[in-house]
């Protein structure tokens, strides 16, 4: 009977809910802009994996190489970018224990780099972020897997201005709660666990002065 129990246990072990695999892989780099000790905002550069890049090229009839026209970039903005506002552009900003996502970004641009499509856009920050903050670029729907590439960069507009310090870490005191079954229109920000709500600890970039 022990063997039968083992066999049934093995059967049970093979049961696992089907995971939604990432469909898009993004290599991310960040570049922060400072004026003295105030962070004016930061650039995000997203380099898509070759498969999703091929899909974008195909769907938007992009050339094999060369620069994209303003019209082509605008078409990409409307057709393959701006809907991400529903997902807060995958951007999670945190000051203290308060976390928010931006409703808009600016200065969108796109280019072809080898077999990759690359997006670049800017997130302006108001003065309230001057005391330092944390930022995570993370897709809680797991449609996109995002990985940080290289160290965060920065520019300092004020001569002699202090250089910021960056640290990448997952702070387990500040989890992100999300509903894996939530719809695209559901922008609910969950502040505590609950039935069906999952917890994740994304890697954050701590920006300090």
């Amino acid at each position: 009977m022990r063997k039968a129990i083992i066999a049934l246990a093995l059967a049970a072990a093979t049961i696992a809910p089907v995971s939604a695999h990432p469909h898009v892989f993004i290599d991310l780099s960040l570049s922060f802009e400072f004026d003295g000790e105030r962070c004016l905002g930061f650039w995000q550069e997203w380099s898509f994996d070759p498969v999703f890049s091929a899909q974008i090229r195909y769907d938007f009839a992009l050339p094999d190489a060369g620069p994209l026209s303003r019209a082509q970039q605008d078409e990409l903005y409307e057709g393959a970018f701006i809907n991400l506002r529903r997902y807060g552009f995958y951007t999670l900003l945190r000051r203290g224990d308060k976390r928010t996502s931006p409703k808009a970004v600016t200065r969108f641009g796109a280019e072809l780099r080898g077999d990759r499509v690359v997006y670049r856009f800017y997130l302006p920050l108001d003065e309230s972020y001057s005391g330092g903050f944390n930022v995570a670029i993370f897709d809680t729907t797991y449609y996109s897997a995002i990985r940080y590439v290289g160290e965060p960069r920065f520019t300092q507009a004020r001569e002699g201005g202090a250089a910021p310090r960056f640290a990448v870490q997952a702070d387990r005191r500040f989890p992100v709660y999300y509903n894996p079954q939530a719809g695209a229109q559901d922008m609910t920000t969950y502040t505590k666990p609950g039935p069906g709500i999952l917890t994740v600890y994304p890697d954050e970039i701590a920006v300090r002065f």
Binding site: K3, A7, L8, S19, A20, V51, A54, Q55, Y87, T141
Partner: protein, 295 residues
């Protein structure tokens, strides 16, 4: 992420045209371990590079393209192995079937490869049919909406079959010499086929990518090699159950009544396992159907 009402919408492209129609929810999105994500990305990059070289007419020539095509097939095979080793892929179904029923030595591999081929071919078929319907290459969004329907539908079918097998078994339970399964023979393969009709997401991705690059035939060949890799893994799951069952019954073969009782119990347990697995996995789909019908 095929969000709520519009189930599997590509978040970049926004709700698709067909989002006006309700679509079933996607399987719950959960964290994928980082090493697995890195492996998937590595696969994707390797495949893209090989596909690109195979499709590159400006490259060094036919020999280089042939080598690249072989690389595509090799990568597809390895992907099939790795992909099937993850959750899903009906390993539970074939495991339970061969745990619960007596079978010949070749049958686990037959069932494993039937499942893998059906699962993989469905992915290619979805792209083909949707492309014909839309007059253009079907995007991932449409394919995934079809996948969500197929996934939910096949799980409901699986639950119904498991329930029918349980009822049938209970009706005959206790009969002496009832070692044979209630769902063996052709019925077993029908279960495997029906429940493997869910299109393979990896196959969809590979086929779409092949079409984007203008290499649909190489895409079809890659699907066959993905099926080969998956078939090995699913067959292994089936053999795990088959060997376990054979060894167990060999150990107690002198005790005929015990054999009959344990055999019947195991079979019933395996069907119950399939039923529980199907209902658990199909629950969001059933909730969606309820909302669709009742509101």
């Amino acid at each position: 992420m095929l969000g709520g009402a519009s189930a599997q919408a590509n978040p970049f492209y926004g709700p698709p045209a067909e989002a006006a129609m309700p679509a079933p929810p996607a399987p719950a999105a959960k964290a994928v371990p980082a090493p697995l994500v890195a492996l998937q990305l590595r696969f994707r990059e390797s495949l893209a590079e090989a596909f690109g070289r195979a499709a590159d007419t400006d490259d060094a020539g036919a020999q280089a393209r042939s080598r690249a095509a072989l690389a595509v097939l090799g990568i597809a095979f390895v992907y099939g192995l790795a992909h099937a080793a993850g959750p899903g892929h009906r390993k539970t179904v074939v495991f339970s079937l061969f745990l619960g029923a007596k079978a010949k030595a070749w049958e686990p591999s037959a069932a494993g490869f039937l499942s893998a081929l059906t699962h993989t071919a469905s992915g290619g078929l979805v792209i083909g049919v949707l492309s014909l319907l839309r007059g253009a290459v079907a995007g991932l969004t449409s394919a995934e909406t079809a996948l969500a329907w197929a996934d939910g539908g096949s799980l409901v079918v699986l639950a119904l079959i498991a329930a029918a097998l349980i009822v049938n078994k209970l009706r005959h339970f206790g009969h002496a010499h009832d070692h044979g399964p209630s769902g063996d023979g052709k019925g077993r393969y029908a279960v495997v086929f029906l429940t493997s009709l869910v299109p393979c997401t990896g196959s969809i991705m590979v086929m779409l990518f092949a079409i984007y690059l203008g290499s649909p035939l190489l895409g079809v060949a890659a699907l066959l090699f993905i099926a080969l890799g998956q078939g090995l893994v699913v067959s292994a799951a089936a053999y795990l159950a088959w060997f376990g069952r054979e060894r167990f019954f060999h150990a107690i073969k002198r005790r005929e009544r015990a054999v009959a009782a344990v055999s019947g119990g195991l079979e019933l347990a395996s069907y119950a396992l399939i039923l529980a697995f199907s209902l658990y996995t199909a629950w969001p789909f059933l909730a969606f159907l309820k909302e669709l019908v009742i509101g």
